[in-house]
């Protein structure tokens, strides 16, 4: 292995860095009723999304939900079947990818194998007519930004996966694009590098003020870095909101199930109040009275309370312990509790549910 480690280096605090010196306010990005069909199959059912200048928005959803297609339509790599995409108020639907002034980082390693790192980073500038010397200098600044200035003369195959994606990020940012598109750029990396690079992308994005659209299926990733998240399912946006909104106030059962961990337990709804395993909790939104299922977050279930249960499994997560219990009615409940409370398999415990508003769906 020729590559050196991926230790985070932070941002250079220098005003000499051309990219940092020219940091702007970003460009507004709008999807207006974007529809995409592949033959008879409709994969995007009218996407509406208004992204503010400089905002970091994630498209989050399971595979096949259309998030990558939406990003590719924005990039111009796919043609929308209907609707339009606006960059800075200008309809770019008919503009080819190479004239949209975007930067993109792909899931697969996309560095040009025959070019040195610095030439990879300078590629976009050279295509815009910037002279070799100036392009190389700016490419060096961009590589400094991702902490890889010292590897400028290497070839891509001499870098680790994390380093390659950093170079790809520098290459995408060096042209000061109107919008930065990230198509699951972290999914090929191992867990530790993934978290480092994720946080670094966010730091750099905040410094440069580049409007960014980030596609991911990893809800933890999206929650950690986004200003807002659009949760997608089956070609539609189910909910757009801040990470806190989505986690604390999911509007649909789909969002509640996909964002964060929930236990799904039987409940009875009556007048906006749900009765869950004997506890009464307020209900989010309008739900018809009757039999339902409630989504209970592990942090809203505590040890000690009126519900008798048996421990099924208990996992040590470092700062806390997460335990799955089975109540006497047969419901499975996740709960979170301090590490000091060690619970064994089959141990009898009692638990309680906090009166925090819950999302419910009618039982089908």
């Amino acid at each position: 292995m020729t590559a050196i480690d991926d230790a985070p280096r932070g941002l250079p605090r220098t005003a000499d860095n051309a990219l940092l010196a020219e940091a702007g306010t970003g460009t507004r990005v709008e999807f207006r009723g974007v529809v995409k069909d592949y033959g008879p199959t409709r994969v995007l059912h009218g996407i509406d999304l208004d992204i503010r200048p400089g905002e970091f928005v994630s498209l989050l959803g399971p595979s096949g939900c259309g998030k990558t297609t939406a990003l590719r339509v924005l990039a111009g790599l796919e043609q929308a079947s209907g609707g339009s995409v606006l960059l800075g108020g200008q309809d770019v639907s008919g503009v080819p990818t190479n004239r949209r002034d975007i930067g993109m980082v792909f899931q697969a390693y996309s560095l040009f194998p025959h070019l040195r790192v610095v030439d990879n980073a300078a590629f976009g500038l050279r295509r815009r007519g910037v002279g070799r010397t100036a392009a190389t200098r700016r490419a060096g600044d961009a590589l400094d930004l991702v902490g890889l200035g010292h590897l400028a003369d290497r070839f891509p195959h001499q870098l680790s996966g994390g380093q390659q994606q950093r170079v790809a990020l520098a290459r995408a940012l060096v042209t000061e694009p109107r919008v930065l598109l990230l198509d699951e750029p972290l999914s090929a990396l191992d867990a530790k590098v993934r978290v480092q690079l994720r946080d670094e992308i966010r730091r750099i994005q905040l410094r440069l003020g580049t409007t960014t659209v980030f596609v991911t299926h990893d809800q933890e990733e999206a929650l950690a870095v986004s200003d807002r998240i659009a949760v997608m399912n089956a070609g539609r946006i189910e909910q757009i909101g801040t990470p806190e909104d989505l986690y604390l106030r999911p509007e649909t059962p789909g969002v509640a199930a996909f964002v964060g961990l929930s236990s799904v337990v039987p409940a009875t709804v009556s007048g906006g109040i749900a009765s869950v395993l004997g506890a009464t909790v307020p209900v989010v939104g309008e739900v018809a009275d009757g039999e339902a299922e409630a989504f209970i977050r592990p942090e809203n279930v505590r040890l000690g309370g009126p519900i008798a249960a048996v421990v099924q499994e208990s996992t040590f997560l470092g700062s806390m312990r997460r335990t799955l219990v089975r109540t006497e009615q047969g419901a499975q409940l996740w709960l979170q509790h301090p590490v000091a409370e060690r619970l064994g398999f089959d141990e009898r415990v009692t638990v309680g549910i906090a009166p925090v508003p819950v999302v419910v769906r009618p039982r089908g």
Binding site: A75, T97, N98, F112, G124, F155
Partner: protein, 275 residues
Amino acid sequence: MNAAGMAPARLTRWIIGVVVGGAFLVPLVGTFLYTLRDPAGGVTLAHWASLFDPAHAATLRPILLGLGNSLILALVTVAIVLVVVTPTIILVNLRFPALRRAFEFVALLPISIPAIVLVVGLAPIYLQIGRALGTGAWTLAFAYGITVLPFAYRAIQASLDAIDLRTLTEAARSLGAGWPDVVLRVLVPNLRQGLMAASLISVAVVLGEFTIASLLNKQVLQTGMVVVQKQDAFAPAIFTLLSLAFVFVLLLIIGSVNTGSPGARVRKNTTRKAS
């Protein structure tokens, strides 16, 4: 059983090597010894020396004329491979992947069609080509473009399969590259080995082709040798050895390009997983 399991034992390998090598070498050595033979008995270099004898030039003219034509044909054929075949293969892979199977079938078809059958179909077309572009020997390159298609296709497709064509293309597009830049600055450098192999194989095929040229009445190296052979049996033998040596060198170049270059290491990069 040795470590490799199915690999033959050392002795078996040697026997195979000697038998196969012998099958190749016996005719070559025979031809070489023939070119050294003195009709009066004994060994002489006179036949090799006569290649440079001005008095002998008239006899050799068909071969030299044919060699010139063949070299021009090789150049035009390589141009067809690089300018027509290569962009087509890239286009099919990028835009019409559903057509890949059909395209592959068509591209490999000429290998199964005897040259004589090809000529029957080509003759009327060459009547038209003759009217439009003249009857110069270089027009044979259109037919040769078809003959070399299977070899060129395999070489180029193999090197396309070794890179992540779609991602590299889309990355270049997203960075502002137009299609000419995508092909010339990103794809061609990464397909270098495949393009080199396709070109050199095309040259080898063109230099060795006889049937089509002969039946369409064009003078190329091979037809020239047949003509000369009727007056001087030794000169064609010498040219055969020389052209075989030339093709052998071409194949050596292909081999070394495919294994020894930095590009060979670059390829592994595209299949590599996380750090």
